[in-house]
């Protein structure tokens, strides 16, 4: 039973992330259709058809995802209590899910209707989707200022959808654009919509932050505050890309300008998804304002990040608490609960032993050496004086083997838990999948760097995986009880992840921007520098 809850608990999060992304895509598409797409020309008609097609797909996927999410959450509730499906179906999340699903199906039907003249009819179901999403946000569960917080949450989500959710439709429009003028008009209209959205997004976000974070100390002293700060940084990067697009629209000419707009748009979508997932992650954390005790102080942070020599000698495997691992496994199997708050299927938390902390620091420091080497060799290869340095991606293979052996010492190949436990413990499974992705990353990028692949999608695997793995860090290891150690760990993970996002998308832009665009050369230098910085941060990673 506990395993079942664990698996469903895990998947419900997957469904939640997908739901938020699809919601933005659906609402963003409708806003794009109504505000950006013109009515007069044949080109507009083609774009309108393409937009309707994608709105329909997004809405159908949203409807399915909502049903799956409600069923998974209902199952967790039924399995962990004595409730029947009828009793669970009256819960807010179930009502919200059904409303959203029905509205999404309505939108899909309207978008697929033949000879549909007006599309304003989709606004009502879109609004219902937004309301249903707000019904499962922090705001409705608050004890104070419930109404204004609910309104600002709705505005925040609507603005996110019209801006980030509208971007893919802009790319569709630019790709099918018959001439530069059409592309310029399209981008100019979307820019106005995006600017309004950004203004609403920033205002609502600031207001919500004041309510949920509340103080400067909470920004760096709690997991919630750190995630909000990271989200603000990513938002700043998106604004920077938006400004570059704005410059292109108003100053550049020719086909290269359209190509540049499309490439920046791709990066904006990728970073936008990261922001949405960070937001999804925020909705499952307790607001910083609720955690008045146990915050990390500035002095504790300074003490933790003060430079020290890296730990290059590992503690012995015998020093690790195998008896604790065994007891923990028994507790999970027996369904024994933790005194801390946690969700069904989790075993709660316990403080790491000094040996475990040393083990983790050793892992991070060697990973730092590997990543630092990668960054320097990539810079060396770019300088063109050492052709052998182009083989730097192969160093990732060493990182993969290192991760498989050492990331989970309680599990195969080092620990008492067998190989198959890998597939039943979500955390171990994520580590193993991550290690395999590092192998993929090494092979693909090595082929690119050594000229074995000169064009095509293979070149994009490396930036995509780097960006995805960085998002993994942003949504990893959240502590419900705000244990200080976990907040401190998150404080080091957030800049690592942000640098990783920048590295991934700058490499993407280096590969995708037209050769005439001078920003391409800046991007080419940016990502290896990010790797160097990531390596340095890892080398100074501390758990005690």
């Amino acid at each position: 039973m506990t395993r079942l809850l664990q698996i469903f608990g895990f998947f419900s999060v997957l469904f939640r992330g997908a739901t938020l992304s699809l919601q933005s895509l659906t609402i963003g598409g409708i806003a794009f259709l109504l505000v950006v797409v013109g009515r007069s020309s044949a080109e507009s008609e083609t774009l309108r058809s393409a937009c309707l097609r994608w709105i329909r797909r997004a809405a159908l996927a949203l409807a399915v995802m909502q049903v799956v999410y409600v069923l998974a959450n209902a199952l967790i509730l039924m399995q962990s209590t004595d409730m029947t499906f009828a009793q669970v179906s009256g819960a807010t999340f179930a009502i919200a899910g059904v409303l959203a699903s029905a509205s999404a199906l309505t939108i899909a039907a309207l978008a697929g209707a033949p000879r549909s003249r007006g599309h304003a009819g989709m606004l009502l179901p879109a609004a219902v989707i937004l309301v249903s999403s707000v019904m499962t946000s922090h705001s409705v569960a608050r004890l104070e200022y419930r109404v204004p917080l609910t309104m600002f949450t709705a505005l925040h989500q609507a603005a996110t959808a019209t801006w980030l959710g509208g971007l893919p439709y802009l790319l569709i429009g630019l790709r099918g654009s018959p001439d530069l003028e059409f592309a310029r008009q399209l981008t100019a209209r979307f820019s106005k919509l995006a600017l309004c959205s950004v203004a609403v997004l920033a205002t609502a976000g600031l207001t919500l932050s004041l309510a949920y974070v509340g103080s400067l100390n909470a920004i760096y002293g709690t997991s919630y505050g750190i995630m909000v700060a990271t989200k603000v940084v990513l938002f700043g990067i998106l604004l920077l890309l938006g400004a570059l697009n704005f410059q292109i629209v108003h100053r550049s000419q020719g086909a290269a300008a359209i190509a540049s707009l499309r490439r920046f748009g791709e990066a904006e979508i990728g970073i936008g998804i990261t922001v949405i997932l960070t937001a999804a992650s925020l909705t499952s954390l307790p607001p910083a304002a609720d955690l008045q005790q146990g915050r990390v102080s500035a002095a504790e942070i300074v003490a933790r990040i003060s430079p020290r020599l890296p730990r290059l000698a590992s503690p012995s495997l015998r020093d690790l608490p195998e008896d604790i691992y065994a007891n923990q496994q028994k507790s999970i199997d027996a369904g024994v609960l933790s005194t801390a708050s946690f969700i069904p299927g989790q075993a709660g938390t316990r403080p790491n032993t000094p040996a475990e902390k040393s083990w983790s620091e050793y892992n991070h420091h060697w990973a730092g050496i590997i990543v630092l080497s990668i960054g320097f060799l990539a810079l060396l290869a770019q300088a063109g004086h050492a052709s052998w340095a182009r083989n730097w991606p192969l160093i990732f293979l060493a990182l993969s083997v290192f991760l498989i052996i050492r990331s989970d010492p309680e599990t195969w190949p080092l620990g008492p838990n067998g190989f198959w436990v890998t597939f039943t413990d979500p955390e171990v499974l994520v580590h193993r999948i991550f290690a395999l992705l590092v192998v993929a990353l090494a092979i693909f990028e090595w082929r690119v760097q050594t000229g074995r692949v000169a064009s095509g999608g293979a070149r994009l695997v490396f930036p995509l995986l780097v960006a995805a793995a960085s998002a993994l860090l942003l949504t990893h290891s959240h502590s419900l009880g705000n244990i200080k150690e976990e907040v401190l760990a998150e404080l080091s993970h957030a800049p690592l992840a942000t640098l990783g996002v920048i590295a991934g998308w700058s490499r993407w832009l280096e590969l995708r921007l037209p050769s005439k665009n001078r920003t391409r050369h800046v991007m080419a230098r940016l990502w290896p520098v990010c790797f160097v910085l990531i390596g340095l941060l890892l080398l100074n990673y501390r758990e005690m």
């Binding site: 895990f10 419900s12 999060v13 997957l14 992330g17 997908a18 959450n73 509730l77 962990s80 209590t81 004595d82 009793q87 819960a91 807010t92 019904m135 499962t136 922090h138 409705v140 569960a141 004890l143 990261t274 999804a280 992650s281 909705t283 499952s284 307790p286 607001p287 024994v336 609960l337 933790s338 005194t339 801390a340 708050s341 946690f342 969700i343 069904p344 299927g345 989790q346 709660g348 979500p426 994520v430 999948i433 992705l437 993929a440 095509g456 999608g457 293979a458 695997v461 995986l465 960006a467 995805a468 793995a469 998002a471 993994l472 860090l473 949504t475 990893h476 959240h478 419900l480 009880g481």
Partner: protein, 125 residues
């Protein structure tokens, strides 16, 4: 792009995207702010009043309290419905001296499920 490679690229992308989402740590946000009995506290028996206060509104009718006795037997406790939206109250009667555990599971108004356990001692009357 060669057709044989296309599946690999798409597979890598989907795997990366799945990681993106899977990695999101599955924690909910209702946290227990205070409780009576307190964590590892001692209360006088045989009748014990129970009060749990959370940081958010709770769906009381879909939340559960279970008392685990020293002999590991458990029984559900009836939750009072007429309380503040962030509070769960109940009453356990006829408790003998010994170590008990109060298991709680709440559904927050925003749909998040959270649970936990409060060990406490009951002394004789």
């Amino acid at each position: 792009m060669r057709p044989g490679h296309r599946a690999l690229y798409v597979g890598s992308f989907v795997a990366g995207l799945a990681l993106f989402l899977l990695a999101h740590s599955a924690v909910a946000h209702a946290i227990l702010l205070e409780s009576s009995p307190s964590l590892n506290g001692t209360v006088g028996g045989p009748d014990v009043s129970i009060k749990l206060r959370f940081n958010v509104r709770i769906d009381t009718s879909r939340s559960r309290l279970t008392l685990v006795a020293p002999d590991a037997s458990s029984r559900p406790l009836e939750i009072s419905l007429d309380t503040s939206p962030d509070v769960l109250t109940s009453r356990a009667s006829g408790l003998k001296a010994g170590g008990y555990r109060l298991r709680w599971q709440v559904l927050a108004s925003d749909g998040h499920i959270t649970r936990g356990e409060i060990p406490f001692q009951v002394t004789g009357p």
